[in-house]
């Protein structure tokens, strides 16, 4: 039974960690190689795609999505999408997709004459689901060893969430100690009292029957 409880707790925290890893911003140092647009039809993976540009018609089946192709410092490639998040989730309120695409196109470079950029993004790259991280901003940096900035927003948000969770947990424990545990103990006590009463009645009944049979 203990295994079930701990595995449930572990699964819960894995989901929470995954959610924050997906939604909070990260910065990569990359070299932009190309930009393009492609018609996308999000289906089973539409949870990981945004909807159309802010202000456009929604619910259309296919739409063109901007992409930014890059080569990372370790020579692996990474492709980012570039979509509005608009007024919906995640709350980046990103409306300047076309502007960002223009900036990214301007920062394209070749391996011979590289221009490295810091690209802030959220989301995951998963080839099996065909999902891409969403680029939020690009900023030119000096070189592949440029230092990434400290993730202040992430630190702030995670601290707040931890504080709220701790506050709720402490109040839950106090509530349990004050209300639920004594009630459970009362139930336990009254059950034992019932058992005692039944046993006593049975004892007296037996005594009465034995007297009847003996005749005295």
């Amino acid at each position: 039974m203990a295994y079930v409880k701990w595995s449930l707790i572990l699964a819960f925290w894995l989901i929470v960690a995954g959610f924050f890893h997906y939604t909070l911003p990260q910065v990569d140092i990359v070299r932009i190689t190309d930009t393009y647009e492609k018609r996308e039809n999000p289906g089973a993976n539409s949870l990981f795609w945004s909807s159309g540009d802010a202000g456009s018609a929604s619910g259309t089946s296919g739409r063109d999505v901007f992409f930014i192709q890059t080569r990372q410092v370790g020579d692996r490639v990474m492709v980012y999408r570039n979509e509005d998040t608009g007024w919906s989730w995640p709350p980046y309120f990103k409306f300047d997709t076309s502007n960002l695409q223009a900036e990214a196109a301007d920062l394209r470079s070749t391996a011979a004459d590289p221009q490295y950029v810091a690209i802030r993004h959220y989301g995951w790259r998963n080839e099996f689901l065909s999902i891409f991280p969403n680029a939020v901003s690009v900023r030119p940096v000096d070189g592949p060893d440029a230092a990434k900035p400290l993730p202040w927003v992430n630190i702030l948000i995670l601290t707040l969430v931890a504080a709220v969770w701790y506050g709720l947990w402490v109040r839950w424990r106090r509530f349990r100690a004050r209300r639920i545990d004594p009630t459970l103990e009362e139930i336990q006590d009254s059950w034992e009292a019932t058992e005692d009463a039944v046993a006593e009645k049975r004892g007296r009944l037996r005594q009465w029957w034995a007297e009847k049979r003996r005749g005295y």
């Binding site: 802010a54 202000g55 608009g86 007024w87 919906s88 709350p91 980046y92 309120f93 990103k94 409306f95 300047d96 502007n99 939020v136 901003s137």
Partner: protein, 87 residues
């Protein structure tokens, strides 16, 4: 459209938070008034003291500050929009 939806949902949620905070804050003020009266042993009758203290609280700055529940998220959203799109 999406902005209208966000505003409506945000307004409802923040109103719930505002109402809960208001009740909580007033209850705390009541507790403090009662404790103060118990400590000092006066002045006047307990119920009257607490009632006047709560009247003062109703007109106080502290109570108006709870409206910050509407202001702060709006400010945060505006800042995010500025830093994401224009900076």
């Amino acid at each position: 459209m999406a902005l209208a939806r966000l505003v409506v949902i945000g307004f409802v949620v923040l109103t719930v938070v505002y109402i809960c905070l208001s009740f909580y804050s007033r209850a705390r003020r009541r507790e403090k008034l009662e404790a103060a009266w118990d400590d000092d042993g006066g002045p006047g009758a307990r119920a009257e003291f607490v009632r006047r203290g709560l009247e003062d609280y109703d007109g106080s700055l502290r109570r108006k500050l709870i409206l910050g529940v509407y202001v702060v998220p709006t400010l945060v959203v505006a800042l995010i929009i500025y830093f994401t799109n224009f900076a």
